[in-house]
C-alpha cells in the first residue's frame, strides 16, 4: 500500500459503526424469516445486489459528494418524502455494502483488510448523512433512539396537527384513505420486486392524550428510474406521496431502521382518527398538500389515486408475470442496489447508467444464484451468522445471541503495523441491463428528461435549506421564536396551510387547537 495511510482513529470509528450494524442487522433479521417469493427469486437477487453495492457505492458516493455534501443532502432529504430516508439510509446503504464485502470475503475474493479506504468512506458518508437527517431527534439511527424516529421539526408537525382531517371508521374519508393505503402498499411491493423499500414510516409523534402521529411515505410511484414503470404509471400524477395519520388508543412502540412499525396493541385501521395527503420531490418546498382544501376533495383524491394505482397494479403484474428469471433477478437486484439513488437526484447528478445497471464485476457471479444457494447464503449471512468469516474467538458473546460470531468483519488493526492492505475496489466499471428506460421522469414540474431533471435540481435550493434558514432548528427556535429568521421560516412552512397561514413561530399546542377550531 502506498499513499496516505489510514490512521487508528479512522479504524476505531469505522469498526464501531460496522459493529453497530452487525448487532442491529441480526436483530432486524431474527424477527423475520428469509423473505422468499413464488414470483421473484428474492434471496438470489439480494445477493446479486450486495455485490453491485460493494463494487459501485464508493465511486457513486464520491460522485454525489463532488456536487453536494452528505450533511447538506441529509438536510434536504429531511424536508421531503423521498427515498433518502430511514430505510434507505439508516440501514440499507451500509448494510448492502457490508453484506457484499462479507460474502466476497467468504468466497476468498477479499480479505477484511482490502478496500479499506472505500469502507472508511462509505461508513463515514453514512454517519454524516444520518446525523444530519436525524438532527431533530439527535440520534444516528432509530435503533439508537430505542427504535423511534422523530425527524420532523415543530413547524411541519404544527401544520399537520392543524390541517389533518378528522375521520372515523366507516366514514367516507376513513374508507377512502384506508383503501388507498392498502392498495398502494400492495403496488409498492410489486413495483419494487417484492422488497419493502417503496414504503417508509417515521414517528411516532405525540399528538395529544392517547394520540400519536406516524408519517407514511410511498416513493417512486410514477414514471421515473424504474424502466418497467414507463407506460404502466403514465397516469400517476405524483412520484412520492406522504400520508400523515393520527392514531388513537395505539402506542407505536417500535419504529425500526427498516421503516417498519409495531404497536401496542397491534395497529388497526379503525383507530385512525385524522389523516392527510402530501406530495414531494427534490424540486418541492417540502411536502406540499394534495387536495387538502376540503375533506370532500381529499376523499375524491384518495379514490382517484386508488383507481390509478389499481390499474397500474394489474398492468404491471401481467408484465412481470411474463418476465424471464433473468429479468426478475436483475430487476430485483437493481431495485435493491439502487436504494441510495435519490442522493444523486437530490444532488442533480443522477445518471441511469450509474444506478440501473449490473456492474460487470458483480455479473460474474450470476450463475451461482439458483434459488437454494440464494436462500441459504443469505440465511447464513444475515440470519444464522454462520459463515466462516463470521466466527470469533470462543470467549465472544455477541449481542442478542450470546454466540461467538459477528455479522460483519471489522478492519484488522494490524494493518497499522504492517501496512498490508488495499485501498479501493477501483473506479466504476462498465455495467449492463436487460431493461431500457424509454420515458421521462415524473416530477412536480411535469415530465422531465434526465438532463432537465438534473439541471432543475441544481438550480433549486429549498427555502429551509438556504443559508438564511438552514440552521433554524427547534432548539434555536426555543429561545429565538420571535427572531426574524424563525418567524420567516415558520411563515414559509405555513404558506399552504389552511389553518396556520400567517400565524408565525410563536404557536404552541393550545394555539393550534384554537386555529383548527377544535
Amino acid at each position: 500500500m502506498t499513499g496516505n495511510p489510514v490512521n487508528y482513529a479512522q479504524l476505531l470509528e469505522t469498526n464501531n459503526l460496522v459493529q453497530m450494524f452487525s448487532d442491529e442487522t441480526y436483530w432486524l433479521c431474527v424477527t423475520r424469516t428469509t423473505q422468499e417469493s413464488k414470483l421473484f427469486p428474492v434471496p438470489s437477487y439480494m445477493m446479486l445486489s450486495y455485490l453491485n453495492a460493494y463494487y459501485r457505492y464508493p465511486s457513486l458516493l464520491r460522485k454525489i459528494e463532488s456536487r453536494m455534501s452528505m450533511e447538506e443532502l441529509g438536510d434536504r432529504a429531511r424536508t421531503i418524502g423521498g427515498k433518502t430516508n430511514t430505510l434507505t439510509m439508516g440501514w440499507t446503504l451500509p448494510g448492502f455494502y457490508l453484506c457484499g464485502r462479507e460474502w466476497l470475503i467468504n468466497m476468498g475474493l477479499l480479505r477484511p483488510e482490502d478496500g479499506v479506504e472505500d469502507l472508511i468512506y462509505v461508513m463515514d458518508c453514512w454517519k454524516r448523512i444520518q446525523l444530519s437527517y436525524h438532527r431533530n431527534d439527535g440520534h444516528i439511527t432509530n435503533k439508537e433512539y430505542g427504535h423511534r424516529s422523530q425527524l420532523l421539526p415543530e413547524r411541519e408537525l404544527q401544520v399537520y396537527e392543524a390541517d389533518l382531517y378528522d375521520c372515523k371508521a366507516g366514514d367516507a374519508l376513513h374508507t377512502a384513505a384506508n383503501r388507498f393505503l392498502a392498495t398502494v402498499s400492495a403496488f409498492q411491493f410489486l413495483s419494487h420486486c417484492e422488497c419493502r423499500i417503496g414504503i417508509c414510516n417515521q414517528g411516532p409523534y405525540k399528538f395529544g392524550d392517547n394520540l400519536e402521529l406516524i408519517v407514511r411515505d410511498f416513493m417512486d410511484l410514477g414514471e421515473g428510474d424504474y424502466p418497467w414503470l414507463d407506460g404502466v404509471c403514465a397516469g400517476m400524477e405524483y412520484n412520492n406521496l406522504t400520508v400523515p395519520m393520527v392514531v388513537k388508543d395505539t402506542h407505536f412502540s417500535l419504529m425500526d431502521d427498516w421503516g417498519s412499525f409495531e404497536s401496542e396493541p397491534e395497529f388497526r385501521a379503525e383507530n385512525i382518527v385524522r389523516i392527510g395527503l402530501y406530495a414531494s420531490d427534490p424540486l418541492t418546498e417540502g411536502r406540499v398538500p394534495v387536495a387538502m382544501e376540503s375533506a370532500q376533495a381529499l376523499v375524491a383524491k384518495f379514490n382517484q389515486l386508488t383507481e390509478q394505482v389499481n390499474e397500474a397494479n394489474g398492468k404491471l403484474w401481467k408484465i412481470i408475470a411474463a418476465w424471464s428469471r433473468a429479468h426478475m433477478l436483475e430487476a430485483g437486484a437493481l431495485v435493491y442496489f439502487n436504494i441510495p439513488k435519490d442522493l444523486a437526484h437530490l444532488a442533480g447528478v443522477y445518471e441511469q447508467s450509474d444506478w440501473m445497471e449490473i456492474d460487470e464485476r458483480a455479473k460474474r457471479f450470476i450463475p451461482l444464484l439458483n434459488d437454494e444457494f440464494g436462500r441459504d447464503a443469505l440465511t447464513e449471512l444475515v440470519g444464522l451468522v454462520s459463515l466462516p468469516s463470521q466466527a470469533c474467538n470462543d470467549y465472544t458473546m455477541g449481542q442478542h445471541h450470546n454466540a461467538p460470531k459477528r455479522m460483519y468483519s471489522p478492519i484488522p488493526y494490524g494493518i497499522l503495523t504492517n501496512g498490508d492492505y488495499t485501498r479501493s475496489s477501483g473506479p466504476l466499471y462498465p455495467g449492463s441491463s436487460l431493461f431500457t428506460k424509454t420515458g421521462k421522469w415524473r416530477t412536480s414540474r411535469g415530465m422531465l428528461s434526465q438532463d432537465e431533471y438534473n439541471a432543475a435540481v441544481r438550480a433549486f435550493t429549498p427555502v429551509a435549506c438556504s443559508s438564511e434558514y438552514r440552521f433554524v432548528d427547534d432548539y434555536w427556535v426555543k429561545y429565538h421564536s420571535h427572531d426574524k429568521a424563525a418567524r420567516e421560516l415558520y411563515l414559509r412552512t405555513q404558506e399552504n396551510s389552511r389553518h396556520l397561514k400567517g400565524k408565525g413561530s410563536g404557536l404552541k399546542r393550545a394555539d393550534i387547537a384554537r386555529a383548527r377550531g377544535a
Binding site: K38, P41, G108, R111, A186, S324, D376, P388, G426
Partner: protein, 236 residues
C-alpha cells in the same frame, strides 16, 4: 509470494448449509489456483487481476460440478423450476398431507399459524390453494370466488398482489407476521395466519381461523415464544 489468507482462518468453520459450503469451497479453491498462477501477489490480484481471472464461466463450472454429482436445488420462485426443471427438485406442497386430529363438535384441527392481528371473532370460509402465476391470472380474469380463504405458500406480497383485497382470510405457509404478506393483510384488514403448518386441507374445504388468538410480536420471535392460532376444518 503471499500465502492465501483463507488458509489461516483460526476460527473459521465450514458453512452451515450444504450448497453454500460446496460453492464457497469450490470458489476458494479456484481463487487459490488463480492467485498462484498470477504470481501470488495478493495486492495486485484482489482488485485488478482477479477481475479478469475469475470469470462468469468459472461460476458456471462451479454450478455444473455440483449438478454433476446428482445434486438438485430447492426451488422457491416458480419461474426457476419452470425455466430449468432439470436443475431443481419438484415443488412439494402441504396440500397433500393428511389430517390426524380427531373430529370434535364438527371441527377438526388441520393446522396452526402465527396470528397477525387479533380480531373480535373467528373467520371462516372456503379454502383455495394458490401456488402459481397461472392460478392468479385465472382469478384475475374470472374473479375471486366469495368467501375465499387463500392458502398460500408464499410469504411475499407480489404473487397475489392484484387479487389480494378480495380474499376473506389468508393462511400463509411461510414467513412471519412481519413478512410482506403479513404487512399487506394488516393494511387490508384481512385476517391472516403466517408461518402456518397445515395438513388435511383440500380446495373447497370450509375452514375456520382462530384470529381471536393473541397476535405474535417481534419480541415473541426474538425470545422464541410459542404463540399460535388454530385452523380447523368444519366437518358436517
Amino acid at each position: 509470494m503471499s500465502s492465501f489468507f483463507w488458509d489461516h482462518n483460526k476460527y473459521g468453520e465450514a458453512e452451515a448449509t450444504n450448497i453454500t459450503r460446496l460453492y464457497h469451497t469450490a470458489i476458494r479453491k479456484l481463487v487459490r489456483e488463480k492467485l498462484i498462477a498470477a504470481g501470488g501477489n495478493w495486492n495486485s490480484f484482489v482488485f485488478d487481476k482477479s477481475y479478469d481471472l475469475i470469470t462468469e464461466e468459472d461460476m458456471r463450472r462451479v454450478e455444473a460440478e455440483v449438478l454433476a454429482t446428482g445434486y438438485r436445488f430447492d426451488v422457491s420462485a416458480v419461474i426457476s423450476a419452470k425455466e430449468e426443471p432439470e436443475k431443481y427438485k419438484p415443488l412439494a406442497g402441504q396440500d397433500q398431507k393428511e389430517a390426524t386430529a380427531e373430529i370434535k363438535d364438527g371441527r377438526q384441527l388441520v393446522g396452526h399459524g402465527d396470528n397477525v392481528v387479533t380480531y373480535p371473532s373467528n373467520v371462516s370460509g372456503t379454502a383455495l390453494y394458490i401456488h402459481t402465476t397461472e392460478e392468479v391470472m385465472e382469478l384475475l380474469m374470472n374473479g375471486v370466488p366469495p368467501e375465499t380463504v387463500a392458502v398460500i405458500d408464499d410469504s411475499g406480497g407480489t404473487l397475489t398482489a392484484p387479487i389480494l383485497e378480495h380474499f376473506k382470510a389468508i393462511v400463509c405457509m411461510g414467513g412471519s407476521v412481519r413478512s410482506h404478506l403479513g404487512i399487506l393483510s394488516r393494511e387490508h384488514g384481512i385476517p391472516c395466519l403466517m408461518n402456518a403448518k397445515v395438513a388435511g386441507i383440500r380446495n373447497g374445504d370450509r375452514i375456520e381461523l382462530n384470529v381471536t388468538a393473541p397476535a405474535k410480536t417481534a419480541q415473541d420471535y426474538q425470545k422464541g415464544v410459542e404463540k399460535t392460532a388454530e385452523v380447523w376444518k368444519l366437518v358436517g
